[in-house]
């Protein structure tokens, strides 16, 4: 195990020792950890190096990589240009009920850009950083799927 690096929710976490791991329902990610007489049932969903562990009811992304995989991944990230315009995509599927900005508009970080209605709730999409609206990809009344491009920020 020692050659594996575990990053949970962004922070590197050393697994605590002595636990025995066993699947209870692998198809659904139900597993059991036991150490001496004690045991805990918990959810571990995913595959390969990318997992989601549910801790106290909270789903935490857990990346389990060998050092080799880590190096490869970092190289790949580096190869992409990290500058340039920022795409803002839909974080959930729903209906666009309001677009508050137009192309060319200067927006401040946190400013409301548009509103998506999903699950009967109005969900505001805010600017992650200040900038100028390069383009608006959606219009009011349009249904968007998760991950679709909403607008681009320069």
């Amino acid at each position: 195990m020692s050659d594996l690096e575990v990053v949970i929710d962004g922070q590197s976490v050393e697994p605590s020792d002595g636990w025995t791991f066993a699947w209870i329902d692998e198809a659904h990610g139900v597993a059991q950890l036991s150490r001496d007489e004690t045991r805990a049932t918990l959810l571990v969903e995913g595959s390969g190096s990318a997992w989601v562990v549910t801790v106290d009811g909270r789903r935490l992304p857990a990346m389990v990589r060998t050092w080799r995989e880590r190096t490869l991944a970092e190289a790949e990230v580096a190869s992409h240009a990290s500058a340039g315009p920022l795409n803002i995509n839909a974080s959930l599927p729903g209906l666009v009920v309001a677009v508050d900005v137009a192309e060319g508009a200067e927006v401040a970080a946190g400013q409301s850009l548009l509103t998506i209605e999903a699950m009967k709730m109005q969900n505001e999409v805010r600017a992650p950083r200040a900038g100028r609206i390069a383009s608006v990809a959606v219009a009011v009344g349009q249904t968007v799927t998760k991950g679709i491009l909403l607008l681009r920020l320069d």
Partner: protein, 505 residues
């Protein structure tokens, strides 16, 4: 007659009943039908073809596309389904068309029994603003505020109401079309959003304003009345654990309600009911301030999500009684004279992220392990691997417990939550688990600010839990086959060669 019905002997209240709803409440109503010997008819949109309520019903009829407006909110589609299936009654559940007077009228005009109060009552009480006026007329205390709709905010002086104030949809319910405004400059934007939500949720954008009473508790009184004048208050429910003005947890009795307060609230509830022609089930909602003064908020003329809490402490099957009342039955003396026993708590299991402002999430349920054993009741609308259509409310299930007293009920709820496993998507399970150890909840001295004051953006995982998670992730990776390296297998000459070798042997 009930005994015979239950024993499956004589004619049930209706032969066939259509449920104009979906999810857990549709299943709850289907169960009541089964137990009364009534054939149940489910309706479904294209997004619900495989939904659990469709599997559970005796019959199922498609009513339209996924969009609620074209299916569960479509009066013609529902009426057509009822005619086609030959249903003699329609139960609207909660939400959707449950408080829609036009719908109730159309149902009765079609010669079908509407399981709920009379259409006229829905009309007068469904308009929260009109209800406020009749409450005042009936001498029931109401929250200070305007008694007329809020038009162009520019022309209205909210000064007399004072800030912070609440904008509310006149057709509202379930916390939708509600917005808090802390100052004059916020009114315009808030009004805009509130109207938008109100129109999309209820098809009516009328909004009014009340002063914000906080900190306060949200306590409601359950009414059940037959068509022959019998009316009973089935105790109260405390619904003060809220986010977005929507209930997350309900309990009965309320830790804040003394016998005196209860008597006063029951009196107010009966006064409100007396302002209309009332039968079937309804709930009168009040704000309860720190001095034990209660203020009428609104009357919901339908079954509540949290009705199970009342069923547990009273032993009264409210949904069965709704149907029997709609068929003209009289409330039995055992119901009218009911004395609640024990303490019940309900937590709502939503697909939402308490660590991200309780934002609803969509997706599919993965693992699904619900608790059972003594004193536990689960009303669920999903099973393992159920897809959640993004069009509808993200309520997955309701987990309820009953015990002798409040401390025992909390202990039982803690036990039940520890047995619960939900995979595939983020839920509020972790919030509830936190809540049962939260001192102000355990003591009972909490109010509608509990989440804002104590949860905030939620606790961070402790280091030992993180180490456990880390061990689990490592164990999972080590015991699972790596995802198929397709490139190598499909394209590389080595892969092809390897297979040819294998075949030769």
């Amino acid at each position: 007659m009930r005994k015979d019905t239950a024993a499956g002997r004589v004619t049930p209240p209706f032969e066939r009943l259509l449920i104009a709803n979906r999810g857990e409440i549709a299943i709850r109503i289907i169960r009541a039908c089964r137990e009364l010997g009534i054939e149940s008819v489910a309706v479904y949109s294209d997004a619900d073809v495989d939904a659990l309520h469709v599997q559970a019903a005796d019959r199922a009829v498609r009513i339209g596309p996924a969009s609620p407006a074209e299916s569960y909110l479509s009066i013609p589609a529902i009426l057509d389904a009822a005619r086609r299936s030959g249903a003699q009654a329609i139960h609207p559940g909660y939400g959707f068309l449950s408080e829609n007077a036009t719908f109730a009228r159309a149902v009765e005009q079609a010669g079908i029994a509407f399981v709920g109060p009379p259409p006229a009552t829905l009309a007068s009480l469904g308009d929260k603003l009109a209800a406020r006026r009749s409450a005042v007329a009936a001498g029931v205390p109401v929250v200070p505020g305007l008694l007329v709709p809020l038009e162009d905010p520019a022309t209205v002086d909210l000064g007399e109401v004072g800030f912070p104030a609440m904008l509310k949809a006149a057709a509202g319910g379930g916390g939708r079309g509600m917005r808090q405004v802390d100052g004059p400059d916020e009114v315009a934007a808030a009004l805009e959003t509130a109207r938008r939500e109100a129109i999309s949720a209820f098809g009516d954008g009328t909004v009014y304003v009340e002063r914000l009473v906080a900190p306060a508790r949200h306590v409601e009184v359950q009414l059940l009345g037959d068509r022959h004048g019998a009316l009973v208050c089935l105790g109260e429910r405390d619904c003060s654990v809220q986010r977005r003005h929507q209930k997350l947890v309900e309990e009965s009795p309320s830790p804040a309600v003394t016998p005196e307060i209860r008597a006063a609230m029951f009196d107010s509830a009966r006064r409100i009911a007396a302002t209309v022609e009332f039968h079937n089930a309804a709930t009168v909602e009040f704000l309860l301030d720190r001095d034990g003064e209660h203020y009428f908020l609104e009357m919901n003329t339908r079954l509540q999500v949290e009705h199970g809490v009342t069923e547990l402490v009273t032993g009264v099957d409210m949904v069965a009684w709704q149907i029997r009342i709609a068929a003209g039955e009289r409330l039995g003396r055992d119901v009218v004279d009911i004395v609640p026993h024990g303490h019940a708590i309900e937590v709502r299991l939503y697909a939402e992220d308490p660590w991200d402002a309780f934002r609803p999430v969509s997706g599919a349920v993965g693992a699904w392990r619900m608790p059972d054993g003594p004193g536990v009741r689960v009303d669920a609308g999903v099973v393992a691997d159920t897809e959640l259509p993004p069009e509808y409310d993200p309520l997955l299930a309701k987990l309820l417990v009953l015990a002798d007293d409040r401390p025992a009920a909390i202990a039982r709820l803690r036990r039940a939550l520890d047995e619960t496993l939900i995979g595939g998507l983020q839920t509020d399970l972790g919030f509830h688990r936190w809540l049962v150890d939260q001192p102000s909840f355990v003591s009972g001295a909490y109010d509608t600010d509990l989440i804002g004051d104590h949860w905030g953006s939620g606790p961070a995982p402790t280091s030992d839990r993180l180490e456990l998670a880390s061990a689990a992730a490592v164990g999972a990776r080590v015991t699972s086959p790596p995802p198929p390296p397709q490139r190598a297998a499909a394209d590389s000459a080595w892969g092809r060669l390897a297979r040819r070798e294998a075949i030769r042997r």
